[in-house]
Symmetry: C2
């Protein structure tokens, strides 16, 4: 195995993180254009009334595979040299990254193997298989998923696609910000603040990069679940800090342990104030999206909306972009939100 693969799997700790530039995002936009959904930029009177702001919603739950993850995965897979594509792709994920990689690989006719915990929700295993991927399950308590992925890559020559600490993935996710900037401009809006949920920081750093180029006056804010606010704390401390908890939030899409070094190196320069929301606030946002916006959003995908609804960031009178990142929610979780 090459060092590159090893580094990729181990989530990266290079002293000099790989660079991602705005032109990488533009190139990614051209690459994914024919296959990704150009999600609209929505507004809704009920949300404007509730917040006192002009809120522009980027609904990535309407994206292919149900979340923004398709963008980064498909861009990254396009960067695999043609000669290596038949060797396939490997990813570790129990959620949206799994579906994004599987959907992208299917389009490029690349074999995809996704390493998923054996106790992952049946619906997620099933949807990943529906996109044509082979699912390899592991026992969370006794097995090391990275070792499994590493062995698969060594055996087959497959490319490992990290969920966030990869320049190609970050550039792909950055197309969310690029589109938002173009769409807001076309509608005649000047963005003041932009919020997105933050796990490892792939999406957030990509959006922040795109905004820095296209709308330099807009301020980007990370939004995280309470107790999983490694970005907020790391940005304050000026160094990458880890979460002590590894589980215990319903925002399963956002439970990364430590900021990726590439994303962190971008966000420490470009991010504004970090925001955290509670699980109850995330659930309220899921319910608001259902009742008022008529959008299906999962808890982790609703935290940026939760930050607005809970008043965690003062936005009255401002023009605010908010990303709804995914809609792969279990119906029982939706019911819990609606009954709260």
């Amino acid at each position: 195995m090459t060092d590159a693969v090893s580094n990729a799997i181990e989530s990266g700790s290079d002293p000099e993180p790989a660079a991602v530039t705005f032109s990488d995002i533009e190139a990614a936009a051209a690459r994914i254009r024919t296959e990704a959904v150009l999600t609209p930029l929505l507004s809704h009177p009920a949300l404007n009334k509730r917040t006192g702001a002009t809120v522009l919603i980027k609904p990535e739950n309407l994206q292919r595979s149900g979340s923004f993850k398709f963008r980064g995965a498909f861009n990254r897979l396009n960067l695999v040299p043609h000669a290596n594509r038949a060797n396939g792709v490997v990813a570790c994920s129990s959620g949206n990254h799994a579906q994004g990689v599987a959907a992208g690989a299917q389009i490029l006719s690349m074999p995809a193997t996704i390493v998923m915990p054996a106790d992952a929700p049946a619906i997620k295993l099933e949807r990943t298989r529906e996109f044509g991927a082979t699912v390899v399950t592991y026992d969370r308590d006794t097995e090391d998923r990275d070792a499994i992925a590493r062995a698969l890559c060594e055996e087959t020559g497959a490319t490992f696609v990290h969920p966030f600490n990869d320049p190609g993935v970050i550039a792909g996710q950055g197309t969310v910000g690029l589109e938002m900037a173009h769409q807001a401009e076309a509608l005649g809006y000047q963005l003041d603040d932009v919020l997105a949920c933050t796990g490892g920081g792939g999406l957030s750093s990509g959006i922040a990069l795109a905004l820095a180029e296209k709308v330099p006056t807009a301020r980007f804010h990370t939004v995280e679940p309470e107790n999983f606010d490694e970005y907020r704390r790391s940005l304050e401390a000026g160094e990458r800090l880890s979460n002590t908890q590894k589980s215990g939030s319903i925002c399963d899409a956002l439970l990364s342990e430590t900021p990726g070094d590439i994303g962190f190196s971008i966000l420490r320069q470009l991010a504004g104030e970090g925001v955290t929301v509670t699980d109850d606030e995330a659930l309220e946002a899921v319910a608001f999206a259902f009742r008022e916006l008529k959008l299906v959003v999962e808890p982790g995908g609703a935290v940026a909306l939760a930050a607005l609804l809970s008043g965690k960031l003062p936005v009255k009178g401002k023009t605010v972009g908010v990303v709804l990142t995914g809609g792969n929610i279990d119906p029982r979780m939706l019911m819990r939100a609606l009954e709260a």
Copy 2:
């Protein structure tokens, strides 16, 4: 009371129905532009794959008040002379028309009184009141809602807004078709077929009129629930026929008794083949919209999608526009769809 009000309340049976023209739709578009949501025209790989067509989705569930009804109501209210506006507006509806009229009247600071059955779902009564309307309830078995509305209009000089048989309402709903035509063209698509659910025919006739002008090669199709297919039968017979059933479908938004004469006079010239779907097919479409499209759609709002998913209209290889008309669904009904 004037004859006009009387005719309006009695759903119209003029030998010469009032005319609606394309320029009325253009005027409506200009009138509602600042207050209505310009809903996007979406596409989704999962729907294209399932149907073998290029499907363009007009999601009116994302509209202000949760359905397209706001368009027609707000346009109609704008046509009330300024001198009469303080007298208010009256409408009869247990559902989306109630919310559309209430939301429109609130913007224009017109008092709104909505006549609703006492046994209407609590959520619908509540939402109508949230838009500032006064709700007057009646007993379905013993009281005549039209008589109540008539008395209210006589008493107060209020304007009655019919849910579908009114040129101003039809012109407002027609903006759905006008927007779809513009948006499809901007995306480089040539529409072959367009489907929308059909109750009294306000939306359908408005869309058909807009398409006849903007995309004359596109064919418009009515979609109705089984046993409530008065339009399909009336169009075949060449005269307005009534349904024998008055209840018994979950598509509560579509249980009108007889085609409106204005809508019928338009659709008999412009509509293609009528399609009917079963309640189970509507529920499957609700579930598909939730799982794949991540959109919240009510059964009546999903029948046009149901027509596509069930293969009732041959669309393989074609470019098809489909309107999702509303998203005001009870969570229990959604669960029923997801468990089916």
